[in-house]
């Protein structure tokens, strides 16, 4: 039994920490874990993808195409970009707020995310669109978006770890002053 989780977003959104929390939670449960990041030449504003593979009989650090049980996307277009990794019946958790490319003003790119969300709605059966931006504003920090999305993914039962496992990982891995807000973020999507 293996669980493959792909996290994707734009540099600076916190995908790497989210992948570390899933890995810590799985290890606490005595499971084998492999993770890997693919980051381009510059981190700021570029595409970032984290691969988390839980379970035995796993060799490659990168998830093969059409093998991810769950895709946690921090940005609509990045979700669409990573769909080739998703299993046929895979789960997609996506933050609805689009992040324009930093070169948009220069190139005249009018990307706004709506077309991507429409495409996801059309093609993905198990889709959760999260208004992570509003939730983060209510919680008072944009930095907990990663944990909000993790909570939504755990809710779907496709992650291989539970909210309780993640809560323990947060307590183990993060400084105490960040526990309360992150645990609130974890439970924000019910």
């Amino acid at each position: 039994m293996a669980n493959n989780c792909l996290l994707c977003g734009v540099g600076g959104q916190g995908t790497v920490l989210a992948s570390k929390l899933i890995a810590a939670a799985a290890m606490n449960n005595g499971l084998q874990v492999k993770t890997a990041e693919t980051i381009g030449m510059a981190q700021r504003g570029g595409c970032v993808v984290s691969h988390v593979r839980i379970g035995y009989d796993v060799y490659s650090p990168l998830i093969p195409l059409e093998s991810a049980d769950v895709l946690i996307a921090f940005e609509p277009a990045e979700a669409v970009r990573c769909l080739p990794y998703l299993k046929n019946d895979g789960v997609v958790i996506v933050s609805q707020k689009a992040v324009k490319p930093v070169t948009a003003s220069l190139t005249g790119d009018t990307y706004n995310g709506d077309e991507m969300l429409a495409y996801l709605k059309e093609h993905i059966t198990s889709l959760t669109i999260v208004d992570a931006d509003t939730i983060c504003k209510e919680l008072g920090s944009a930095k907990v978006m990663n944990v909000v999305l993790l909570g939504a993914a755990a809710q779907s039962n496709a992650l291989g770890v539970t909210k309780a496992d993640l809560e323990k990982a947060i307590q183990d891995r993060l400084p105490q002053r960040f526990h309360e807000i992150n645990i609130k973020a974890l439970n924000a999507v019910q």
């Binding site: 734009v10 890995a23 810590a24 290890m27 084998q32 874990v33 492999k34 993770t35 890997a36 990041e37 693919t38 381009g40 030449m41 510059a42 700021r44 504003g45 570029g46 595409c47 009989d57 796993v58 060799y59 490659s60 650090p61 990168l62 093969p64 195409l65 059409e66 277009a77 669409v80 970009r81 769909l83 080739p84 324009k100 490319p101 930093v102 070169t103 948009a104 003003s105 220069l106 190139t107 790119d109 990307y111 077309e115 991507m116 495409y119 093609h123």
Partner: protein, 600 residues
């Protein structure tokens, strides 16, 4: 045993620490950088760790320490080994006393490198043993073995991880009883430590004999292995081993697998056992067909009639990295299994996110100042390796050449010899200047060239994650030392004129460039301003909507990611603005002013 979740580079670092490493030197380069950084972080004070000025210096410092009986680790990326190849080739003849492992991280793809070169060739060329880990767990063990073999055979050894090993994270079981090495010190012995033609001849004979023996010894090395049985064979090594295992997971076919952990000297005895009775072999490896050629050679040498398929026979891609899919496709055809290629989906057009200079990056201001100063004149801009290579992107378009570390200074000289009337600029970062730019400047002065050197001094090695260098006044041992002064070096070697300017003051910066363009000889401008990734942002800027005339000059001239168009007016994204003020200096109607504190 204790278990820790480690990145491949951290596993290599911990393995070296547990092998009793005494001295560690290196030069930053993706994907190798975190190895040395981890050792510096985990150092209990017993290990000497330095970022050397370049890879050649690192390897020579390492050699001196290994002559003195220290266990020594030298780290770099694959192109760094080119820089270190002079000492490497000779050190292979001289040998070492303390175990010496040279890590050269390869980058199939390439993902963040100039070339797709293969360090295993350097092993064959220099006649040094090469270790090639297939996973981070294996890397932890293998680097300890590498130290043992190095010491036992008195030779430096190469250790060659690839990006996917360096940057993958897995739980690693670590020993509770690390090895401790007490260096004996340097024992004088001219015949041993001074390289002479006569001793090299004698050492050459010994090396050939040793490698024959190592080929046999490696045939029994536990990380070289034959798995499974069948009449079809797959030979592999490195991370490709993981891809092969993953690709064959659900395949029922009987195959025999050869995993090569020591590509040089090639474990011939083991490989012969593998080849015995096979009908056909395919080789799955990244970069060059090293294992493939060894197997073809073995077949020829032993008169075995067998087809070896791989890159040379065009059954496997010969450029770019392998993936589970690429391996699955090749193996399915080789083994006669059904394979359905993942379907390409028809998605809406996806936004492109190219790498760009950060908002507030002082390099943007420096490039812009030079561009403005020489407007209308014929000028060529030679660039170099670092964040500032991104100055090539529109709208700046200020990097006309980029070759290798330090080449900006010398390429500019070559262009000048053909186009004496062109203004030739050479852009170089501070770390690159120390690494290999200085000799090029001396060459320019000595040969009486006309070039303008532009030092982009942001007081760090930004591209690889902010390592200290000779100009920063800090070392990896945490010592505060004298800063090596770039201006003094330039004046001392005879640069005609050296001017310093703050690139964030556009008028001053443009005047600095203009003040040297008419001067004959080698001139230099030092643009000094710290990297925004390691400094606190200053007061940020905002656009006065009433004043903005939507001319888009701030956007079209600078290409700063913080400046966008909103409701037909320029708008500065507060979470991105670092307050460099360049946009306010190019605005023709003074619509951009200081506004509020940074809240990003």
């Amino acid at each position: 045993m204790s278990k820790k979740f480690l990145m491949g580079n951290e596993a290599i670092a911990m393995g070296a620490i547990h092998a009793g490493v005494n001295v560690v030197c290196g030069y930053p380069g993706t994907p190798s950088t975190e190895i040395l950084e981890t050792i510096a972080k985990e150092n209990n004070g017993e290990i000497y760790v330095e970022w050397s000025v370049n890879e050649k210096a690192a390897l020579e410092v390492g050699a001196g320490a290994a002559y003195s009986g220290a266990r020594t680790l030298v780290t770099m990326k694959q192109v760094g080994l080119n820089v270190a190849s002079d000492p490497l080739m000779s050190l292979a003849y001289v040998g070492v006393k303390g175990g010496m492992v040279i890590v050269s991280a390869d980058d199939p793809g390439p993902i963040s490198s100039q070339t797709e070169q293969d360090t295993r060739h350097f092993g064959q060329f220099s006649k040094l043993p090469v270790f090639d880990p297939a996973s981070p767990e294996e890397a932890y063990q293998m680097i300890q073995d590498a130290f043992t073999y190095s010491e036992e055979y008195g030779t430096p050894v190469l250790f060659r991880p690839t990006t996917r090993i360096c940057h993958a994270c897995v739980p690693v079981n670590m020993t509770d009883t690390p090895y401790v090495n007490k260096p004996e010190g340097f024992i004088k012995d001219t015949m041993r430590w001074v390289i002479f033609p006569r001793t090299s001849y004698l050492n050459h004979i010994k090396i050939e004999k040793r490698n024959q023996k190592l080929s046999q010894v490696f045939s029994h090395y536990r990380l070289n292995a034959i798995e499974g049985s069948g009449t079809k064979g797959i030979a592999t090594g490195g991370v490709s081993y993981a891809y092969v295992k993953e690709a064959l997971k659900d395949a029922p076919t009987n195959v025999r697998l050869l995993k090569v952990a020591t590509p040089h000297p090639f474990p011939e005895e083991l490989a012969m056992k593998f080849l015995q009775g096979l009908d056909e072999v395919i080789v799955i490896e990244e970069l060059d067909p090293v294992i493939e050629k060894e197997l073809i050679f073995l077949c020829g040498k032993n008169g075995i009639k067998l087809t070896i398929k791989g890159k040379l026979s065009h059954h496997v891609q010969n450029a770019g990295e392998n993936t589970v899919e690429s391996v699955k496709e090749v193996l399915s055809s080789f083994l006669g299994l059904a394979y359905e290629k993942p379907k390409a989906q028809q998605t809406p057009p996806l936004p492109v996110r190219p790498p760009v200079l950060c908002a507030g990056c002082p390099h943007r201001a420096s490039f812009y100042a030079v561009k403005q100063a020489v407007k209308g004149q014929r000028a060529v801009f030679s660039g170099d390796i670092g964040c500032y290579t991104l100055g090539n992107a529109k709208p700046l378009d200020m990097v006309d050449t980029c070759l290798c570390m330090g080449a900006d200074v010398t390429i500019a000289q070559g262009i000048h010899r053909v186009e004496p009337d062109t203004i030739n600029f050479a852009f170089i970062g501070d770390s690159t200047f120390f690494a290999s730019g200085m000799t090029g400047v001396v060459n320019a002065v000595y040969n009486n060239t006309d070039i303008i050197l532009v030092v982009l001094d942001n007081s760090t090695t930004a591209m690889t994650g902010h390592q200290p260098h000779p100009g920063t006044g800090k070392t990896m041992m945490g010592d505060i030392v004298n800063k090596v002064d770039i201006e003094k070096i330039l004046l001392a070697v005879g640069v005609t004129r050296v001017v310093k300017a703050d690139p964030l003051d556009l008028t001053q910066a443009i005047n600095a460039v203009k003040s040297v363009t008419a001067v004959k000889g080698v001139k230099a401008i030092i643009f000094k301003s710290p990297c925004v990734a390691v400094t606190k942002p200053s007061q940020q800027y905002a656009v006065d909507k009433e004043k903005c005339i939507n001319c888009k000059r701030c956007i079209k001239e600078l290409g700063c990611p913080a400046v966008v168009i909103k409701d037909n007016k320029a708008y500065i994204e507060p979470s991105l603005c670092f307050g460099c003020s360049i946009c306010s200096q190019v605005c023709p109607v003074n619509a951009i002013t200081k506004g509020g504190n940074h809240n990003g």
